[in-house]
């Protein structure tokens, strides 16, 4: 090793790359407990305000005979999600799951797009994706008990054979966990890779980060939102013991 190489290595060692978790934006005392509102929750509020305004504007003053692009867009959105739920879950879930899937998809996709505006993507916080995994878990549980009864639900653990019991128990938890981690992993890895590229390029970070951002924040966001809602629907549909 020459001296210059050692020097370069020492210089490099001085620059460190760090990626922080979500900022503790607000902390407050309530019911004798210290509550932490993370950055990802604040970004969710931004997303919620945008979506609330958007839904309110799209959904009001609808005419029997559509007037203007606004109503066409509103009908397209609702029709798309109810149609998607109908094709992947069947007719009987159309009315109930259409709004949840539509709202969840809009929530996730807009959360991912927040990265483009310099805000922290809420889906790169595992607590956020875990919450949606919990919802899926609860929905699956509810559907199993509703369609099969409590006895049927218990029996489903030893089907098709009794030795499948541990796998079935793991399966019930593994699906929502995998679903949550998939969304989290994709988005956090996009954030990490983007940060690494910025770090590596230093002051030459001009074109490459934009292309990466286009992929991770736009393309991957759409794909991952789509996969997330599709998995939610297929888990619930599979849990239906009547079919």
């Amino acid at each position: 090793m020459t001296d210059s190489m050692i020097l370069m290595a020492e210089e490099a060692a001085e620059r460190t790359f760090t990626i922080d978790g979500p900022l503790k934006s607000i902390t407050f005392q309530f019911l004798g407990k210290e509550w932490v509102i993370a950055e990802s929750v604040v970004t969710q509020w931004v997303v919620m305000v945008v979506l609330a305004v958007l839904f309110f504007i799209l959904g009001r003053n609808l005419k029997l005979k559509p007037e203007g692009r606004r109503q066409v867009i509103a009908e397209w959105i609702v029709g798309f999600f109810t149609g998607y739920v109908e094709t992947s879950m069947g007719q009987k879930y159309k009315r109930g799951y259409g709004p949840y899937i539509g709202a969840l998809f809009c929530f996730i996709i807009l959360s991912c797009l927040m990265g483009l505006f310099g805000l922290r993507n809420p889906t790169s916080d595992v607590s956020v994706t875990a919450s949606w995994g919990i919802i899926t878990f609860v929905l699956v549980l509810y559907t199993k008990i509703k369609t099969g009864g409590f006895k049927g639900y218990m029996k489903s653990f030893i089907e098709p054979m009794p030795f499948m019991l541990p796998f079935n128990i793991i399966g019930d938890f593994a699906n929502p966990v995998a679903q949550a981690l998939r969304l989290f992993g994709n988005n956090v890895s996009g954030m990490v890779i983007g940060g690494l590229v910025y770090f590596a390029l230093g002051s030459f970070a001009i074109f490459v980060p934009a292309v990466l951002s286009l992929y991770f924040d736009l393309f991957s966001a759409v794909i991952q939102s789509y996969i997330f809602v599709t998995l939610t629907m297929s888990y619930v549909a599979m849990a239906d013991m009547e079919e």
Binding site: A12, A13, R15, T16, F17, T18, I19, D20, G21, P22, L23, K24, W35, V36, I37, A38, E39, S40, V41, Q44, W45, M48, L51, A52, F55, F56, L58, G59, R60, L62, K63, L64, Q71, A74, E75, I77, V78, G79, T82, R95, G98, P99, Y100, G102, A103, L104, C106, F107, P122, D125, V126, S127, V128, A130, S131, W132, I134, I135, V188
Partner: protein
């Protein structure tokens, strides 16, 4: 070049935070409710109303078409009926005309035959009359002539018998 996932005033990068989970669940519920009541319900209502309206209009159109179909059928039936009636009227008229023609012809023939018969009868009568007249005249002339010729009075009865014999001979010729 070390990579550290640091905390500081931040949370851990991979960290399950129950507060974040609770807030996210609340936020998701709120977004779900907003989507459901501000967008999903009004749109579904409009779509259902439109579906109903279209179904109603289609039914009305079908009814109208059925009615039109029925009216068309009726019209055709009536047309057919009236055509048949017209044909019947024409054929009846033709038949009647033919009968009338025959009747007129027969009457005319009858009349002509009557007239001919009458004419023949009157001709016969006239002829007889004329013959009788001629007979009388001839008998008178013959009497006068024979008186003149004979200058002799034959008894009138003998005379007449003679003459009638002669006339009968003449008349038979």
């Amino acid at each position: 070049m070390g990579i550290t996932l640091s905390a500081g005033e931040t949370l851990q990068l991979v960290n399950i935070n129950t507060d974040t989970i609770i807030f996210t669940l609340i936020n998701t519920l709120i977004i779900f409710l907003i989507y459901r009541f501000f967008l999903h319900k009004p749109v579904m209502k409009i779509l259902d109303e439109r579906k109903e309206k279209i179904a109603g209009e289609m039914k009305a159109a079908e009814d109208a078409q059925a009615e039109a179909e029925a009216m068309k059928q009726e019209y055709f039936d009536k047309l057919k009926e009236s055509r048949e009636e017209a044909a019947q009227i024409v054929s009846a008229a033709v038949k009647r005309a033919g009968e009338r023609e025959n009747q007129i012809l027969a009457e005319a023939q009858q009349e002509a035959a009557d007239m001919k018969k009458k004419a023949e009868e009157s001709i016969e009568l006239e002829k007889k009359k004329a013959i009788n007249e001629i007979k009388d005249q001839i008998s008178d002339i013959v009497i006068m002539a024979s008186e003149k010729v004979c200058e002799k009075e034959i008894s009138k009865s003998d005379n007449e018998a003679l003459i009638n014999k002669f006339i009968a001979e003449v008349g038979n010729e």
